[in-house]
């Protein structure tokens, strides 16, 4: 007898908080929904959560709706991409009421495992290869480096400024510019809602992406999604002074770009994340049946 498809939903952080164009909701929500039906097994569907609909499983993407979690009888997965409890968000009761937890990094997974015996699975941030669809053509000595991300994280650039001056490299920062990074040669504001704004083109104006190691307190919990974004666009990522010097040379940049693009296709496609989620849901479904 044919089994009915499981109907699933993901409650997005950006919807729950009435925001738009949130990176984590794009990477850990929209891209899963878009690619869900491309990956075996085809025994479930996934949509953005709609109030009043009946679901067999719900993924709570960084959303802590305790009242609903307590009442919902289907499969419940709580998805973390930040250490929200360090911002004093209560998480324990909701973890206790879910069937499993997923995390964007291993560091987050290891931390949450300290709180619970429930399954805690790391499903890394991965990339929709159709989203960052332009590729950099590397020509001549590098002239400009690019950094992008939330402006409150731009402090990591401080330690690179003298080095950039020494090698005569301009710095472009793409962020929410609240506040702008004053030491940059160019600040560009994220403007996802504006059809004129093309994030990919903005990044490709540079020759490489600068991603100094995030040594700030919560740096170890951060995912590598910005590195992967750069690699998708054929942009090398310099994390150390040595790499930065190396990528001044266009041939080195071309070589790195090809190598990393191959890596992204093999290891960092969002379809692998869909697969991970489907496996977890299958496991939880079987666990529920056994109980």
């Amino acid at each position: 007898m044919l089994e009915e498809k499981l109907k699933g939903a993901i409650l997005l952080f950006e919807d729950w908080h009435s925001k738009k164009y949130i990176g984590s909701s794009r990477i850990r929500g929209h891209w899963l929904i878009k690619n869900w039906d491309k990956v075996l097994p085809y025994n479930s569907t996934l949509e953005s959560f709609v109030q009043g609909q009946k679901y067999d499983f719900v993924i709570f993407q960084k959303t802590y709706w305790l009242d609903f979690v307590k009442k919902f009888e289907g499969i419940k997965i709580l998805d973390f991409c930040d250490v929200d409890w360090l911002d004093t968000v209560p998480v324990i009761e909701i973890i206790d009421n879910c069937d499993a937890v997923t995390t964007s990094t291993e560091a987050l997974r290891d931390e949450i495992k300290k709180f619970t015996d429930k399954p805690v699975v790391c499903i890394p941030d991965r990339q929709d290869l159709e989203f960052h669809n332009l590729k950099k053509k590397h020509e001549g000595r590098a002239k400009m480096v690019v950094w992008f991300g939330y402006s409150h994280n731009s402090k990591v650039l401080d330690k690179t400024i003298l080095f950039l001056k020494k090698y005569n490299l301009k710095l472009k920062v793409i962020s929410d510019v609240r506040p702008p990074y004053m030491k940059a040669d160019k600040n560009v504001k994220y403007d996802w809602g504006n059809p004129e704004f093309d994030f990919n083109k903005e990044v490709l104006e540079g020759d490489m992406v600068l991603m100094p190691e995030n040594t700030r307190a919560r740096g170890r919990f951060k995912s590598n999604n910005k590195t992967l974004t750069a690699w998708c666009l054929g942009m090398p990522v310099a994390t150390t002074p040595d790499e930065l010097v190396k990528f001044l040379d266009p041939e080195e940049r071309k070589k790195e770009a090809e190598l990393r693009l191959k890596e992204v296709k093999e290891k960092w496609s969002v379809e692998l994340s869909v697969k991970d989620f489907k496996n977890l849901i299958e496991q939880l479904k079987n666990d529920k049946r056994r109980r």
Binding site: L86, P90, E93
Partner: protein, 295 residues
């Protein structure tokens, strides 16, 4: 409260066998409202019924006492200010039958009095499943920065955030508490309680946190170093934000260890802040004071 004990709004001669009055070091400031109330009430009951005074404070109040002591010819030091407060309190309480204080250190600092450490009912404090968060409950109002350790508290909060990425919660400031049940639920669900006080004798909020199974990180003052064994049933931190922040963060990132230490802390609290012991000590004191006066 027992039927034969009453809060009264004013004294009526011949109706009562004993007066229990409240005082603290702020009552040494003659123009302060609570100081006036104490002085007026004490002048009315003095010599008519036995009087026990509960002194909730210590002579630690450098913001006010250094200046007042200087005006009375004392040196301009915190030690001299405390000596001034000792002398003034003795004079203020002249004729009382006993002064009860909340810690042995407070008794030493005042130079007299009887220590009765508060008692709590373990059933009234709930050791609930813990959220990995750090909380503090100290008074935000008025002066008393050293007394409450406010500078240590604010510096530790900044360090916690900058060095360890940990936000902390100040109950009453960052968290709105609706009622007592809300309070004991919140404290009962908190993994770490940070007590920064320096002059406050036996802060009740710390005892409540211990009773609720929170892992307590506290300054060592006012007897805390006699019942907290560092790393066993809580943590003692120096008057130093680096030390305090490190110990708090260590516990926030070691959830199971913090739970274990919190449970040990509750065991200590059940023994030390024992309600029966507290009631017995009070009954003994009342009996002593009233019988002495009958004789």
């Amino acid at each position: 409260m027992s039927e034969h004990l009453n809060w009264v709004t004013h004294f009526e001669e011949g109706k009562y066998d004993l007066a229990i009055l409240h005082v603290d070091q702020q009552c040494l400031l003659e123009n302060l409202g609570k100081s006036k109330v104490f002085r007026q009430v004490y002048s009315v009951v003095k010599g008519k019924v036995p009087v026990i005074v509960i002194n909730h404070g210590t002579p630690v109040y450098p913001e006010m006492f250094i200046q007042l002591a200087q005006m009375d010819g004392y040196r301009v030091t915190e030690e001299a200010a405390e000596e001034w407060a000792r002398v003034k309190m003795r004079k203020l309480l002249d004729g009382v039958d006993e002064m009860v204080v909340n810690s042995h250190e407070a008794q030493k600092m005042w130079g007299w009095g009887q220590t009765i450490i508060h008692g709590l009912d373990p059933n009234e404090w709930w050791d609930l499943r813990k959220e990995p968060r750090v909380v503090t409950f100290i008074s935000p109002a008025g002066i008393g920065d050293k007394y409450y350790g406010r500078r240590l508290f604010s510096d530790t909060r900044v360090l916690l955030k900058e060095e360890y990425g940990v936000e902390s919660l100040w109950i009453g400031q960052d968290v709105f508490i609706r009622d007592w049940d809300d309070y004991r639920t919140f404290i009962g669900k908190s993994l770490v309680y940070f007590n920064p006080t320096i002059g406050s004798p036996m802060p009740r909020s710390r005892s409540e946190a211990m009773m609720s199974g929170c892992c307590v990180v506290t300054t060592p003052y006012q007897d805390a170093d006699t019942f907290i064994q560092d790393g066993v049933n809580g943590f003692l931190c120096k008057n130093n934000p680096e030390d305090a922040a490190k110990k708090i963060a260590d516990m926030i990132f070691n959830y199971q260890e913090a739970i274990k230490i919190g449970k040990k802390g509750r065991e200590t609290a059940i023994k030390l802040f024992n309600k029966e012991r507290y009631q017995r000590e009070w009954l003994e004191l009342i009996s002593k004071v009233t019988s002495k006066n009958i004789c």
